[in-house]
Amino acid sequence: MAGWFALPREWISSFGEIAKFSGKILGQVYSLRVLHFFGETLRQCGVLILGSTLVIWGLVFIVGLQCGIEGAYFTRAQGAPAYAGVFAAWCDLREIVPYGFGYMMSAKVGTGIVAELGSMRISDEIDALEVMGIDSVLFLCATRLLAAWLVLPFMYMAAVGAGFFASYLAVVQQIGEVSSGGFSLIFWMFQNPPDLLYSVIKGMVMATAIVLVGCYYGYHAGGGPVGVGTATAKSMVMNIVLVHLIGMLGTQVFWGANPRAPIGG
C-alpha cells in the first residue's frame, strides 16, 4: 500500500524546500545581484536560443495543426464552417499554445537543467565553485532564471505565431472549406492584444516554475549517475502537474468571468 502514496508524500515533504530554494533564487534575481554574472546569463540565453527554440516551435506548430483540424470539423458539423477561426483563435492563443510550450519547456529545458546541474553536483563541481568563493546558487540557478526571463517572452510570441500559421494551414489549405480572407476576418476578430498579454503571462509563469523546479532537483541531486537520472525523472513529474495546474488557474483568472468575445452587448 505504501507505494501508492509515495509520490504525494514526496511532494508534500519537498514542497517547503522547493519554495525556500525558489525564494532564494527569486531574491537574487530581484535584488539584481545576478548582474555580477551577466556574462554567464548571456551565455545561458545563447544556450536556450540555440538549443530549445526550434523544438518548442516545432511542437507548438504540430498542436496548432491539431487545433485547426478539430476546429474545421467541429464548425462544419455546426453548419458554420466559415467560423472555424473562432475555434482556432481561442484554442491556439488561450489554451493549446501555453500547454504545448509548457510541455516542451519541461521536457527540453527543465530536464536539461536537471541533467546539467545534477552531473555538476555528482562530479563535485558545485563544491569546487563554493571553494573558489563563488555563490553557486547565484552563478548556476539565478543566471538561468534571468536568462529564461530575457529570452522566453520573445520565443513565446514567435511560438504563438507558429501555432497561428499551423492553424491557418490546416483550416484554409488542408480542409479548405473557408476562404483565406474569411478565416482571417473571424480569426482576428475573436482576439485582441490583452488576450496575447494574458497568454504570455500564462506561458511565463509556467516557464518560471519549470526553471525553478529544474534547478532544485538538479542542485540537490545525489547518489551517482543513477541519482541524476532519477532526479531528472522526478522533476518531469512535478513540472507536468504544475503546467496543468498553472494552465487551469490562468484560464480561471484571465477568462473565467469574462469570455472577451465580440458577441452581444
Binding site: 516545432g58 511542437l59 468575445a261
Partner: protein, 268 residues
C-alpha cells in the same frame, strides 16, 4: 573539402534518421520476441504494470481534472453561455475529452512519469554495464527488459484512457456547476453525441501512444553513454522525442479518423 562541409551540415539530420531507423528495428525486434516462445517476461510485465499504475494515477487525476475544467470546460462554457446554450457543453465534451484531451494528457503523463523512470532505470543499468553482463549470461535484454515494458506501457496507457475520460468529464461537470446550471442537460447531450467509434478511436490512439513512449524510452535508456551526465541527457532526449512523436502521431491519427468516419462529426 566539399564533402567535409556537407558531412558537417547534414550530420544532425543523418544521426536523427539513423536513430529513427534504430527505433524501428527495436520495434520489430520487440514484436518478434514478444510473440516467439519462450515467454519469460511474465513477472517483469506485472511489476512494470503496477509500477506505472502506482506512479501515474495521482498526476493523471490532477492533470485531467485541471485541463478539462480550464480548457474545454470554462472557455467553451463561456462561449456557449453567450448563446444561452450551456446544455450543449456535454456534446462538446465528446469532441474535447474523448477525442483529444484524454488521450494526449494520458500520453504526456505516462511519458513524463513512467517513461522517464524507465529511461533512467535502463540508462543506469547500461552505465553500470549490467546490460552487457546480461548478454554475457545469455539473457536477451530485448526479450527480458524491453518486451515487458512495451506490453505493460501499451496496456496501462490504454486503460488509463478510461480513467482520464472519467476525470475529464468530472472537470466538465465542475465547469457546469460553477456556472450554476443543472447537470441533466449535460449528460443528455453527452450521451446523444457519444459514439462507439469515438471511444475505440480514443483507446486505439492511446494504446499507440503507449507503444511510442515505450520504444523511445527503452531505446534511449539502452543507448545511454557517458557517465553521470549521460543518463540525465538520455532522459532529456527521450521525453523530447516522445512528445514530438506522440503529437505528430496524434495529428495523423485524428485526421484519418475524422476523414474516414464522417458520422462521428455529426452533431445530434
Amino acid at each position: 573539402m566539399v564533402s567535409t562541409v556537407a558531412d558537417r551540415a547534414f550530420a544532425p539530420a543523418k544521426s536523427l534518421l539513423e536513430e529513427v531507423g534504430d527505433m524501428m528495428i527495436l520495434t520489430g525486434k520487440t514484436m518478434v520476441s514478444a510473440l516467439r516462445p519462450p515467454y519469460p517476461y511474465g513477472s517483469e510485465f506485472v511489476g512494470q504494470f503496477l509500477f506505472a499504475l502506482r506512479l501515474c494515477w495521482l498526476p493523471l487525476l490532477i492533470s485531467t481534472v485541471a485541463v478539462s475544467y480550464g480548457a474545454p470546460g470554462l472557455q467553451a462554457a463561456n462561449f456557449l453561455i453567450l448563446f444561452g446554450a450551456l446544455d450543449r457543453l456535454g456534446g462538446f465534451f465528446v469532441l474535447a475529452i474523448i477525442r483529444e484531451f484524454a488521450p494526449f494528457v494520458c500520453a504526456i503523463i505516462v511519458a513524463g512519469v513512467a517513461g522517464t523512470a524507465i529511461t533512467a532505470d535502463l540508462g543506469a543499468r547500461k552505465i553500470r554495464e549490467e546490460l552487457d553482463a546480461l548478454q554475457v549470461l545469455g539473457v536477451d535484454p530485448v526479450k527480458n527488459l524491453v518486451v515487458p515494458r512495451f506490453l505493460a506501457l501499451m496496456l496501462v496507457t490504454g486503460l488509463f484512457d478510461i480513467f482520464a475520460i472519467i476525470f475529464g468529464i468530472t472537470g466538465g461537470l465542475i465547469a457546469t456547476l460553477v456556472n450554476g446550471a443543472p447537470l441533466g442537460p449535460f449528460w443528455a447531450t453527452f450521451f446523444t453525441n457519444a459514439s462507439t467509434t469515438d471511444l475505440w478511436g480514443s483507446l486505439l490512439k492511446c494504446t499507440m501512444f503507449g507503444a511510442i513512449t515505450a520504444i523511445v524510452c527503452c531505446y534511449k535508456g539502452m543507448t545511454a553513454s557517458g557517465g553521470a551526465e549521460g543518463v540525465g541527457k538520455a532522459v532529456n532526449q527521450a521525453v523530447v522525442i516522445t512528445f514530438l512523436g506522440v503529437f505528430a502521431f496524434n495529428y495523423v491519427f485524428t485526421q484519418t479518423l475524422l476523414a474516414t468516419h464522417p458520422e462521428i462529426t455529426v452533431i445530434r
